[in-house]
Symmetry: C3
Subunit: 434 residues, 3 copies
């Protein structure tokens, strides 16, 4: 895309890499051609023609040409941003010089690709002075080709301890007159190389979870107005694992993730959006179990909870291997503590509208009521919870809505799927709230 719908996205859900040149194929640009034609939920927010790790070193000259050809031909109609990845290494000046040459080639306006390209992805960066070297390459390219200073964005792969440390230095350096680091766009974790750089070992060879790295990346994105993206999830068949990782990332403020396949793109495009329908959860020995909605009743049909009425206002409640006798009120209170609700898009919009009306009428905080009927072993119990909403709650709940609005505005190719998923009416209200 670009040229110059300009679209500076506030959110990026998906960072999809494609090999720039594959060996032994009639058309070495096959993967690029396939990717650039993706649309809708199969198309990523950011597409990365990858002339680094995904492309064999011997194929990288072809890769650069393929990128230029495919982007020049199809870039205009691609619905997401385009950020090719070139080679770079904090410890190797020759690799950095190759990276400069690759970018010079791709960015040459004569070749017709640059107008659809948003920026470049720079891997293997080191400390902040190394980031400045890459920034300087982009400044030179802009100057050489008469592009506006800052026209090309720069995204980095954080895959070394040095780069992780640079995340904390960034805010002191961005905005200095001798660099153009304001061009920074995505901060992307690269856990495979990071694991190597940290010299970590796990018994099975599985990657460590690196929670601190992800926190520090997300924090730097927050402090500098950038966007945090998690690295690749290798086990492409393990959709549940991919989802769990995204849920954990979202709780860190890292709303985007790498995708290796169009199937992962679909999952990762949908994951940070609120669900179509709300769900009740119940905590069973520390695990959240989803209840089955039957009409308006939420049914628990596992075997870890038990409930029996032993006389009027006396129940026997079993949770795991613990049993206790409780009265009506205690039962209500106990179940309230055990349950939780995952709101739908519609629910969030409802609450926000209600809060907005209340503040317009001069009230700063209101109680939102949430009630349902649970059924355990055939006994129905109605629980009802109140949650106070103030300005801060309101603003915190706004993140998924802002993301939804950002997607809807910047990805016209996904609108129909979103309207089908949520219904026309909810989508319209979601676009007007906040």
């Amino acid at each position: 895309m670009r040229s110059d719908g300009q679209h500076d996205r506030s959110f990026v859900r998906t960072f999809f890499t494609s090999p720039a040149a594959v060996e032994g194929e009639a058309d070495s640009a096959k993967m690029l051609r396939r990717a650039v034609q993706l649309r809708g939920m199969r198309a990523p927010d950011v597409w990365v023609p990858d002339n680094e790790d995904a492309t064999a070193p011997s194929m990288r000259d072809d890769g650069i040409e393929n990128i230029v050809d495919v982007v020049a031909e199809h870039g205009e109609s691609f619905p997401g941003e385009i950020h090719p990845r070139i080679v770079w290494h904090r410890d190797r000046p020759d690799t950095r010089y190759q990276g400069l040459q690759q970018m010079l080639y791709i960015a040459d306006p004569e070749r017709g690709a640059i107008e659809y390209i948003d920026g470049f992805v720079v891997p293997e960066v080191g400390d902040i002075d190394d980031w400045k070297k890459a920034d300087e390459c982009l400044t030179i390219i802009e100057s050489e080709y008469g592009l506006d200073e800052g026209r090309l964005s720069m995204s980095v792969i954080v895959e070394s301890g040095q780069a992780e440390l640079a995340l904390a230095d960034l805010r002191d350096e961005i905005g200095k007159p001798t660099n153009n680091l304001e061009r920074l766009s995505l901060l992307v974790d690269g856990e495979v190389d990071y694991t190597k750089d940290m010299r970590a070992i796990t018994p099975t060879g599985e990657l460590p979870a690196w929670p601190e790295l992800r926190h520090n990346t997300s924090r730097s994105a927050s402090a500098n107005g950038l966007i945090a993206i998690d690295g690749p999830y290798d086990d492409i068949r393990d959709i549940d694992g991919y989802h769990e990782r995204m849920t954990a990332n979202q709780a860190k403020g890292m709303l985007g993730i790498w995708a290796l396949t169009p199937e992962q793109v679909i999952e990762a495009n949908a994951a940070p959006l609120p669900p179509k329908t709300g769900t009740w959860l119940i905590d069973v020995n520390g695990h959240a179990v989803e209840l089955n909605a039957e009409d308006d009743v939420q049914v628990y049909d596992g075997e870890q909870l038990s409930l029996e009425k032993i006389e009027s206002d006396r129940y026997r409640l079993g949770v795991g291997s613990n049993e206790r006798t409780v009265c009506d009120d205690e039962l209500h209170e106990e179940l309230l503590q055990l349950t939780d609700y995952v709101p739908s898009l519609n629910d969030i919009v409802d609450s926000m509208e209600t809060f907005e009306e209340a503040t317009e009428a001069g009230t700063g905080a209101i109680a939102m009521d949430n009630s349902t009927t649970l059924s355990i072993d055939g006994i129905e119990v109605t629980i009802s919870d109140e949650r106070m909403w103030d300005e801060a709650t309101y603003q915190a709940s706004q993140t998924p809505i802002s993301l939804f609005q950002d997607v809807y505005e910047n990805r016209p190719d996904q609108r129909e799927e979103l309207r089908e998923m949520y219904g026309e009416h909810v989508v319209k209200r979601a676009m007007n709230v906040g």
Copy 2:
């Protein structure tokens, strides 16, 4: 308090906010008046008349006047420190200017409140240069009203990625001749706004636990001689949850927490103090279960552990679904590994006195013995453990005692409750040890 009992507390357990003005009440200062009259375990170590988020924007002019009135009238006899919270925002100069005006109003000696006020709480700070702006406002106020430079303390709410980064910069900036950042007192996390600033999403809207933020806050407090306080725990009926949070915080060195109600104040005042009586725990599938003391025997009466004597020096020990046959020695060793002891105030004082005597006699390390009799399925087993104490163990165990001493000295209004709780004798010894 203050004026000038001066009391620079080394520890702060409780940070209790009260709305400065509530709408629709005959007396908009009702909440302040109620709070300022709290005493004993219901009164916090730090009381925060809150003219920011807890008070509707339309009521904040009233709020400032209420703070001045209530503190001028009752401040002298309030047993804790008083730190009003004013408005501030890293991104909004107009809000910062309002903050300055609010502080100028409150601090005016003519109004009679300032002599009881220890300092101000500044919310929504950004990076360290923003902290300096707030510090400069306080310097101006001190200069304007002829107060000693540094007389007013400054506490900040860490509720942005920028502020979290500033925690690591603080030690390089504090002590520079161009600022008075030595006035810093509390570093308080604010997880609601932090979650918004980090753009984090959780399915149920629950706040993420943010372990790294809490670590970084505690670390900065440690490195700069300040005090770390965790943010509000919203679910005010969930006392167990509040306790779990405090236990987790204490293991991070974050000994204080926000309190929203006098009930939370009671809990949070008591939580970091050692218990009156010691307790034995046994690990059952990764969960620590408290044993019931019957006379001198610690009885396990759950169903996850089983013990049977099958012949002389042969037992069958079941832990969860695992069973194994063990001899006497193995049984002892196994149970020793599974059990743990939570010492009482008395126990800690005992150990410290013993160690102090030993070092006076020239011994650098001594073995502390701890033994008890367990009863499982009616079979009694006596276990006995030794732990080496050296200078480092001694000093690490001193933290709860130092906290106890700090409380006892600075909070005369809590002495009677403490003596009732622990007994006169233990309290006296605890005040003399260390």
Copy 3:
């Protein structure tokens, strides 16, 4: 060792401290004499005659003399590096001056110890300016005794919030012309004093796990080319706990650990090396359970998994309390997700050799196959998994091999034990791969 086999180790598995002088013994240097004669897997990579916390203050003058005597006599033949720990404290100039004097005494070439000493361990450091003070002491000593600048390495104990912050500053300071911080060698966590400095409290007095401290130490080691070491594990009888700690550390890139006894040295020397034989694991309710290899079949004989054939291509699979009916393919897929493989040294060498051949032949990524037969309730199921290996996977898997090679090269005294453990053939191949 040293003098001047020089051996700059890339990896350090074990950091073994011995009291420099014990009271009440005929020979106060007894512990030193015993330690310096350790060989093979009982001897540490780094040996630390400890004249700080392990030695009573009143014995430290003796300690210094003992260190000189024992190292001068036995140092030449000791197979690991020798790094005495002296006294130091960020807050006490008198202690720092004592530290300087202790080092001056030990390093005096007249006394004959220094040629076998690699460097010094400096405890209780504060922020980076305090590290520079210790570095300056070493520079003075080198100058005084005509040693090359940088000849003496410096290792620090990170046991304060200030020192943890310094870890992030190090890369900006190392290499400045006014210091010799390039002499830094080990970054060692000291959790007992760190816990005190952070003022953390746990109910049982157990040390907190401090995951962020360990991450930050490991990250700084990675960013500055240093080596990260975890602190002491006090419960010396709890070998399982020590192992779990090391496994967690290794996943953070912290491959070395403190050892308090020769038994801990053996464990910690072996822990980061790949196992002799591979093992299959199966995930049972979140716990990895090792399967028993009987011939080529991996047998599960616990009670948490069940498998029953109910008709052709129909199985009932039970995992914990969940049961479901699955067809052949689903069963295969399900079991594949539940299982994991811990490769042996031989397996890792195999995979690396295969990958090296493939890249020589021009292929950038190959699929490694891994298959086995599982047996659950007597039913055998063959599963087979493919994992893609590219350059990054290859390099990440290299860490344990590089460590193995480093050990084999620098510790001739362990070669025989390694050959006995793994077999001559595998050892030879492991030394040639990578």
